[in-house]
Amino acid sequence: MHAVTSQHEPPPAQLRRNLFASMALIRAFETRVAELYRDGDIPGFVHTSLGQEAVAAGVGLALRDEDYLATTHRGHGHCLAKGVDVDGMMGELFARVTGLCRGTGGSMHIADPSHGVIGANAIVGASLPLAVGAGLSSKLLHQDRVAVAFFGEGAVNQGSFHESVNLAAIWDLPVIFVCENNIYAEFTDSRAMTRVPCVADRAAAYGIEAHTLDGNDADVVYAATAAAAERCRAGEGPILLEAETYRWHGHYEGDAQPYKPDDESLAWRDRDPLTIAEARLVHDDTATAEELAAVRADAGARVDAAVEAARAADVPAHEEAFQHVFSR
């Protein structure tokens, strides 16, 4: 086993409340999306990040609005934590004209460059080279912007992981590679797919720094990301963060998950990132249980409003299919 590092100072009180609020929004959004998908209200494929909220919130809140973020098919939480509009996201999931991509993208392709989100991506491992390119732009255009690539541990056996980390390393790019290690690569236990199950151990092969984090502790993820971003802005090159976490639901909504042992699922449910944050906030008098319950209720109401707005919105007209194939 490797050591889980969390050597940074905990974030200040207001930030910790914000981290909780961000996680509560993601939880409410993903819970509702899972129901809507089950009921046939959302077309296509949906991959939720329930159980992984602390990684999204910790990374998202440690970044500046203009920092770049490239993410995965399981990217709703990352986008929400980066400040992407809830109505725009829900509209996109419903494939309405109010969606961020006007119904051309869908759940796996949420993008909002106005918040630095250069896109969720349905190709495993595709976020990494794109983030490297964003880091290259930031460096060459002297912009002081950091680029984050989210990916799962299933992506680290793709060639794009190797090529991207190496490129960012040799060019000293401001890129934070964030691996959400949720143990399962689609249906397969990823520990059986490599002799090096600790993703952070791979960083040595590229000469870069890496840390393995408790990915269910938003405070830890926030502090590590903030420190990594500072390093990147100082021109010290890329860093790899491995956040250990667990995917509560299946690879996609509807996956019955026969491949997961029950005791494992139950043990991870006991490490609910919201519960962990809640207990600590209440324990050190940063918030009361009632206040936190209200935060959760507000998040639920926000998501409900987004669902109603999406239901009421128009579907795209036929002609819209022919727009934006090329830019003018």
Binding site: Y68, A111, L128, P129, L130, L136, E163
Partner: protein, 328 residues
């Protein structure tokens, strides 16, 4: 130094390409060049020689042999403010970096309803006829023309080597720019007046058979026009996407006969698409069936003798023109 400074009025195709990149880099400082050996080494065909000295290593960037990484990074950089020219040394190598072109560059502008623009040029070269073997000889332009969202350009003349390259960099879309290394030493008029992409050129006027071609095959078609007893009108398409069918249709309407010639293998090639479009529009005006000449569907053999017999040459093109005339 630039060949433009030399007293002679003609320049080589290869120097026109370098001049095209120089022009593009001078007129827009966001233009950067990425590729294997493109820097101080000047490229394995010397296309980029001198650019590193002129623009420095921040704009002429050597990459590892890591096509998926740096082509993908180029796409990410194009989304975030740079205008990269990314070199893929041989067109055959797209096999290891297809995802950034096929799934990222071609689609993300569309899938974000235009929120992302991807102004990138994928510069590559092909060219059978020098015993390079089956992994270094393929003309794969039809692959890319088949993917919505990519422009596909194949300069056949020295003038166009410069002008189309500058136009490709100015275009706000991903452009696959395909040179032919057998043209690198060809001399011609230096270009200086780029037109927008998508305008075919009547390279030789004639009135009995329309011959549509692009890239290296133009030379063979012009030789055929010299040799043939039939009067051939030779059209250089310049780009497959956008495809200037207006020029083709206008010509075939006069001649009533069409021959399409390309170096790429004939089966499922772009010639089939052009033949179908002409048949759709001019079925009643065609005096003969449309004919195609491409390379037979075999991996290109190493043997110079075999290779010579497979590639479409002037004699076969001239004979095909005469046969069409005899048919009707």
């Amino acid at each position: 130094m630039s060949s433009v400074a030399e007293p002679q009025t003609t320049t080589r195709y290869i120097d026109a390409l370098a001049q095209g990149m120089r022009t593009a880099m001078q007129e827009d400082e966001r233009v950067v060049l990425l590729g294997i050996d493109v820097g101080a080494g000047g490229g394995i065909f010397t296309v980029t020689r001198g650019l590193h000295e002129e623009f420095g290593s921040e704009r002429v960037i050597d990459t590892p042999i890591s096509e998926m990484g740096y082509v993908g990074a180029g796409v990410g950089a194009a989304m975030t403010g740079l205008r990269p020219i990314v070199e893929i040394m041989f067109m055959d190598f797209v096999g290891v970096c297809l995802d950034p072109i096929l799934n990222q560059a071609a689609k993300l502008g569309y899938m974000t309803a235009g929120a992302l623009q991807i102004p990138i040029v994928f510069r590559t070269q092909t060219g059978a006829g020098r015993s390079a073997g089956a992994q270094h000889s393929q003309s794969l332009e039809a692959w890319f023309a088949h993917v919505p969202g990519l422009k596909v350009v194949m300069p056949a003349t020295v003038t166009d080597a410069h002008d189309l390259l500058v136009a490709a960099v100015r275009d706000p879309n991903p452009v696959v720019f395909i040179e032919n290394r057998r043209l690198y030493g060809m001399r011609g008029q230096a270009g200086e007046d780029p037109l927008p992409l998508g305008q075919a050129r009547v390279a030789r006027s004639g009135d009995e058979v329309t011959v549509v071609t692009w890239g290296q095959s133009l030379r063979e078609c012009l030789s055929a026009a010299d040799e043939s007893s039939a009067s051939l009108e030779v059209i250089d398409l310049r780009s497959l996407v956008p495809l200037d069918m207006e020029t083709v249709i206008a010509s075939v309407r006069r001649t009533g006969r069409l021959l399409v010639v390309h170096e790429a293998v004939q089966d499922f090639g772009a010639g089939g698409e052009i033949a179908a479009r002409v048949a759709d529009e001019l079925f009643d005006e065609l005096r003969t069936p449309v004919r195609r000449i491409g390379t037979p569907s075999v991996p290109m053999p190493f043997s110079p003798e075999l290779e010579r017999t497979l590639l479409p040459g002037a004699a076969a093109i001239a004979a095909a023109g005469e046969a069409l005339l005899a048919e009707g």
